[in-house]
């Protein structure tokens, strides 16, 4: 492919092919090896002999039997190579699966999903930002929830439902506002302005055994799916 100015295709005619070799005598039909391994086959010489002498009228061509003087290979070359390819493919598939599993770490250096947020009497009404930086949660105490109409606590996950930035709490305007694209949310989490398509998500919040508030981020509740009515999405207090 050195010269690309001349037109392609000027292939010289090959020299005359040699005459085909003389045909070989037709090969004897190979033994029927269905269901047999080579070990069985090699041991089968003696066993087959015993079988055939035991049942003298049994045809040697029945499945599994091999004539005593049969010298054809136990596995043809094609069968061997097929076996090798099969083993290689299986090994490759296993290696690929292992590589895929490799990409999912078993240990994460991330903050724990659950944490104790102190006692209910440590909180006043409104949005508390003390856990925002460390755990990504606003703990909100309200005298009347927008859906349940009771007083208590809920935990808002600090992830904007538009594309995942962290909104800011604007206390003066009593709303959450995302700096990325301007999504606005009420203190309940309900979206009312900007591109956010749905309300902020709430995390599971329950009372621990020692009376502290336990926030569990591994479970989220979405209002648009009706999940804010779940008893663990709101801590009555």
């Amino acid at each position: 492919m050195a010269d690309e100015t001349k037109p392609q295709g000027e292939i010289p005619t090959p020299p005359a092919r040699p005459v085909a070799p003389p045909p070989r005598p037709p090969a004897a039909p190979g033994p029927d090896l269905s269901g047999r391994t080579t070990t069985v086959a090699s041991q089968g010489g003696a066993a087959a002999k015993a079988a055939t002498t035991g049942t003298a009228t049994a045809a040697p061509s029945r499945a599994g039997a091999r004539e005593a003087d049969d010298t054809s290979p136990l596995l043809t070359r094609r069968a061997w190579i097929g076996l090798a390819w099969g083993a290689f493919s299986a090994a490759s598939a296993a290696a690929l699966a292992a590589t895929g599993r490799f990409m999912f770490p078993n240990v994460l250096n991330e903050p724990p999903q659950q944490f104790k947020a102190g006692f209910p009497n440590e909180y006043g009404m409104g949005v508390d930002e003390r856990w925002k930086e460390k755990f990504g949660i606003w703990l909100v105490r309200t005298p009347e929830d927008v859906d349940l109409h009771v007083s208590g606590f809920y935990a808002i996950v600090t992830v904007c439902t538009h594309l995942g930035c962290t909104p800011n709490y604007l206390a003066a305007e009593n709303k959450f506002k995302c700096p990325c694209h301007g999504s606005g949310f009420r203190t309940s989490g309900i979206n009312f302005e900007g591109p956010a398509p749905r309300p902020l998500e709430r995390a599971r919040v329950v009372l621990a055994d020692d009376g502290q508030i336990l926030v569990d981020k591994s479970k989220h509740y979405q209002r648009e799916l009706g999940q804010w009515s779940d008893p663990e999405a709101f801590l009555k207090a």
């Binding site: 492919m1 050195a2 010269d3 690309e4 100015t5 392609q8 990409m103 999912f104 770490p105 994460l108 250096n109 991330e110 594309l163 995942g164 930035c165 990325c180 591994s218």
Partner: protein
């Protein structure tokens, strides 16, 4: 009168040295041809050198019509080489950890001599994306995707995707606010993947004996980030992808792409 004899002027010292040098065993082992002063030697130079033999020995005249070819493909390749070299040099000073990433990028500007390597790499990346798009546009406008060149077009599209992924992964490495939030936004799209994303359609169907297989810590986004948010796992993964994984992939595809152009008779030849 004394007999006059014609004597050739004694060769200069340099000429004699050169003649000696080019006949040493070392030289003739490296260069298996003479100087390219004849057509035959010019061809031999191209053919006997592994780097040069990737080029054709001769070009059609249509191959140098700049208003037709724009040379954007060649420019993209040149930028890729330049990005590889500048990127390699950046790797001597950059550490992909939460503690050092941002400081090292600042250090590449403030502490390293000349301090332009990071900007060259960044500008080169922007330029490569532009030249790749212009190349695609040119190929489309000149109809160079038509049979038998359809496969090469497809290879080129995959290379376009890899180029954009290289930009995406490289963007995270300075670990500044732009980087973190851009990658957060970009990777959040992965959680909406059908069946493989934990917020995508069909994720609830992927259970095995009641155990959910796809959740926030086990979906396509998790595999991309190496975590549930953009943190140290994402930084290291993106670093490896950006420096090794994606360049290897795109280099293999470049080999196929250039081979196809050569096989079809050279750049911008008529069908």
């Amino acid at each position: 009168m004394a007999d006059t004899k014609t004597v050739a002027p004694k060769e200069g010292a340099f000429t004699r040295f050169w003649n000696w040098l080019t006949e040493t065993q070392a030289w003739t082992s490296i260069f298996r041809h003479d100087m390219p002063t004849t057509d035959r030697n010019r061809v031999l130079v191209m053919l006997s050198n592994v780097f040069l033999h990737l080029h054709p020995v001769r070009l059609r005249k249509s191959g140098v019509r700049l208003r037709y070819t724009w040379c954007m493909g060649g420019l993209s390749f040149f930028l890729f080489l330049s990005l590889t070299l500048t990127g390699l040099l950046l790797m001597f000073y950059y550490r992909p950890t939460l503690e050092y990433a941002y400081t090292d990028i600042v250090g590449l500007r403030e502490h390293v001599p000349l301090g332009i390597m990071r900007e060259m790499h960044r500008w080169g990346a922007h330029a490569m994306v532009i030249t790749v798009w212009l190349h695609m546009f040119r190929v489309f406008m000149t109809g160079s995707y038509k049979p038998p060149r359809e496969f090469n077009w497809s290879v080129g599209v995959v290379m376009l995707v890899l180029t954009l992924l290289l930009s995406f992964t490289g963007y995270l490495l300075p670990w500044d606010q732009l980087a973190i939030w851009a990658i957060t936004v970009g990777s959040n799209m992965a959680r909406a993947t059908p069946f493989l994303g934990h917020e995508g359609p069909g994720a609830a169907l992927m259970t095995l004996g009641g155990v959910p297989l796809i959740h926030a810590a086990d979906d396509a986004r998790f595999a991309l980030l190496g975590g549930t948010f953009v943190g140290e796992g994402a930084l290291l993964r993106f670093y490896v992808l950006h420096c090794v994984g994606l360049p290897l992939g795109i280099a293999v595809l470049m080999a196929v792409h250039f081979w196809r152009v050569r096989k079809d008779g050279g750049i911008s030849g008529p069908l």
